[in-house]
Amino acid sequence: MADLVRLTIDGKPVEAPAGTLVIEAARCIGVEIPAFCYYPGLSLQAACRMCLVEVERAPKLLASCTLPVAENMVVRTDTPAVKQARRSMIEFLLTNHPLDCPVCDKGGECELQDMVFRYGAGESRFSEVKQHVEEKRFSPIVFFDAPRCVLCYRCVRICNEGLGVRALGIVNRGVASEIGPNRGDRLECDECGACIDICPVGALTSGIYRYQTRPWEMQHVGTICTFCANGCKTTLGVRNHRIIRGNNRDRSGINGEFLCIKGRYAFDFVHSEERLQTPLLRVNGELQPVSWSRALAAVAEKFTEVKARGGKFGVIGSNHTTNEENYFLQKFARQALGTGNIDHQRTGDVATLLGCTRSLATVADLYSTKAALVVGSDLAQQHPLYAFQLRANWRHHQARVYTVTEGPVREDQYSAGRARVQRGEELAGVERLREQLKAEPELVILFGDAIQGEAVRKLVAFGDSLGIPVKYVCLLDYSNSRGAADMGLTPEPGGGLTLPEMLAAWDLDVLWVVGANPLKNGELAADGAFVVVQDLFLTETARRADVVLPAASAYEKSGTVTSATGEVQALRAALKVMGAKPDLEIFGLIAREMGIDLGVAMPEAVFEEIRQTVRGYNVPLPVIAAGGAAQALAPEAPVAAAGRADLAESARNTLFTSGTLGRYSKALNSVEEAPGGLYR
């Protein structure tokens, strides 16, 4: 590269692109320069003064977080002056710090503790009275303890710049300065907790986690969030089979920095008192707890009997269960029950998209594309990771984002072009942006359920007509909505019943519902149908069941899920909940009880079968096994779009709702913003 700059840091030669900050250049050669306020990806502050370094010929120490590299620059980070400066900064920082580490949630993973440990100021000469301010509760999620705050402004910046929420600011002046929430004494925001995770000290703590544990007492399990389809990795902190917190501090997922309230705090549905922990069997009209063997026997007996007499099955799969479970379920239905009546609650028409293009975007593409078009979705509410990525792309690379939506959306803050349309008029809105879009070098189009069937084909034709590379994302609602479609939880072409058709079929003999709640808003026409439900909770559908089998949640099992962008990632079991079993295990038990052989009902074995049989899923195993994401390719040949094209309907979840699971999260329902009425 022509514009490489050569300098030395602590005597070591370094080459870095022009514009690189000294603190980053040092990091590249393993020289760690301490900092509180410097945070990659956020605006520069130069406020904490921890990163001061000596630069030859400079009259004083310079802040390396705002100092670009220069040719022949000679930087030293290890001189007595630098060490003394760091020690004195920490001494200053600690003057008004309460030093309440023994009761601080951050203890053990606090950057201030680490800095004192590494850089000194072990004793203080401060003997004056400390500034004290009482702790404040900004929301059920966010608590603020001003005396612990080092005023690095990371929280303010992640909220303003990263999320675009602008819920935090700085009030007062001088030593009285403190973080202030947007509603005077409380927060009205996404409640995502990004401010808490980014806080280097214990100033911002979460109402969910505080005073629960010491960090080193937890096991940390990186898995995939089980709510929306964005595929964020969340690291669950588990102690004694209880999840204490969720965060993403290792930033190894496709979501990097990002998690929303669901990924960070809504795991508590797992511990809901309403979790089913024993099978239920309808006896004399009432659902009664029974043993697994009795419940499984009842299911197997019924399935075998109905199969034998050629009766009518209906199978409804889940948007949350794993690919392995979805695959095994459809195989069970097709091979063992001999039915093509298979479906799931479709939230977007990804099937048609996969039928007309192989050009699919990843989450990484959203951060690197020069331009993006959002059609018919309030991204910040419904697909917060994608909204975060696009905003970061705009902040860091000046990406141009266009929106075609019914109402105002957060992307309006920075969008390069927008069209407001009535629902159903989205394609016309897209057309209005044609000239602008045509001038872009490339484009990613994200579209919601407003675009289905023929409209998807038209949208792709529009993309083709622009004469630039275009990639697509079909926005879906849930953690494995995409996998459900990919694994074949769709009616057998030419005769299989769709979900509404199953509910309407008066002559249905068996309805098998796995991780879905179709009767919440629907009615089952077949009064006499034998209903089997696998679920975590006694949902509306489970109440109608003849047998209810308690299922494990995604946080209690392994397997893979596929995000809306087609990225396949592995779940890791974080805990066990007594009495509940993973759906795959339940399928295996039913099969065994029926005396049929569908292969080993183990995630690894099923995944291997998926890799060999499901088109596009021959993804590299090591990537998945190592906790990475691999995009499932769209099949070479168009997939026949299954069933009717207008079936998909998004639940329009907000940040504070998520189908059935969301109803059982106290955290999600505790905030004032829930269920999205107060806040947009």
Binding site: R166, L168, G169, G180
Partner: protein, 160 residues
């Protein structure tokens, strides 16, 4: 929220003095002039100014809590700022301020019970060569003595 026609004109002039699209730049003078009329920056006033400038009330609050002249609660009708900084201190500013406290029976940032007077121990007011100096609202009184202060307060009381 309605302002007087004079204030409306002032606020419009201030907004027009900013480059187009940069109207929020006028925030600080707008708040100060609004405060002069309303006595204090109540939530109602702040929300109105923020609305006109397209900023959030939090953004306004960041500013209000930073600048020492902007206040959420009303000061007295006569707001006395007495400088005790170096040049004034050297010529009796401290004593002048102490005298004012005694005379009015209030301390720093307090308001008399009748709402007539409020007191502030001020930082340098820019009258160092005519010290000690003080402000009553926006009017300077220089080369002050405790006796002159008494006469000043007497006259202000009479004005009422």
């Amino acid at each position: 929220m309605t302002f007087s026609p004079e204030l409306e004109t002032r606020l419009e002039t201030l907004m027009r003095s900013c480059p187009p699209g940069r109207e929020a730049s006028a925030l600080i003078p707008m708040l100060l002039y609004a405060q002069d009329e309303t006595g204090a920056l109540t939530s109602e006033v702040v929300e109105e100014v923020a609305r006109r400038l397209g900023i959030t009330p939090l953004q306004a609050d960041e500013v209000i809590s930073y600048y020492s002249m902007l206040r959420r609660r009303p000061a007295g009708r006569h707001h006395l700022q007495i400088c005790t900084n170096v040049s004034c201190m050297l010529r009796g500013g401290q004593e002048l301020y102490g005298h004012a406290c005694k005379r009015l029976g209030i301390r720093n940032h307090e308001v008399t019970a009748d709402g007539e007077f409020s007191l502030e121990e001020a930082e340098c007011l820019g009258a160092c060569s005519w010290a000690p100096a003080m402000l009553v609202n926006y009017d300077y009184h220089q080369d002050m003595t405790p006796e002159k202060l008494d006469r000043l307060i007497d006259s202000l009381e009479k004005k009422h």
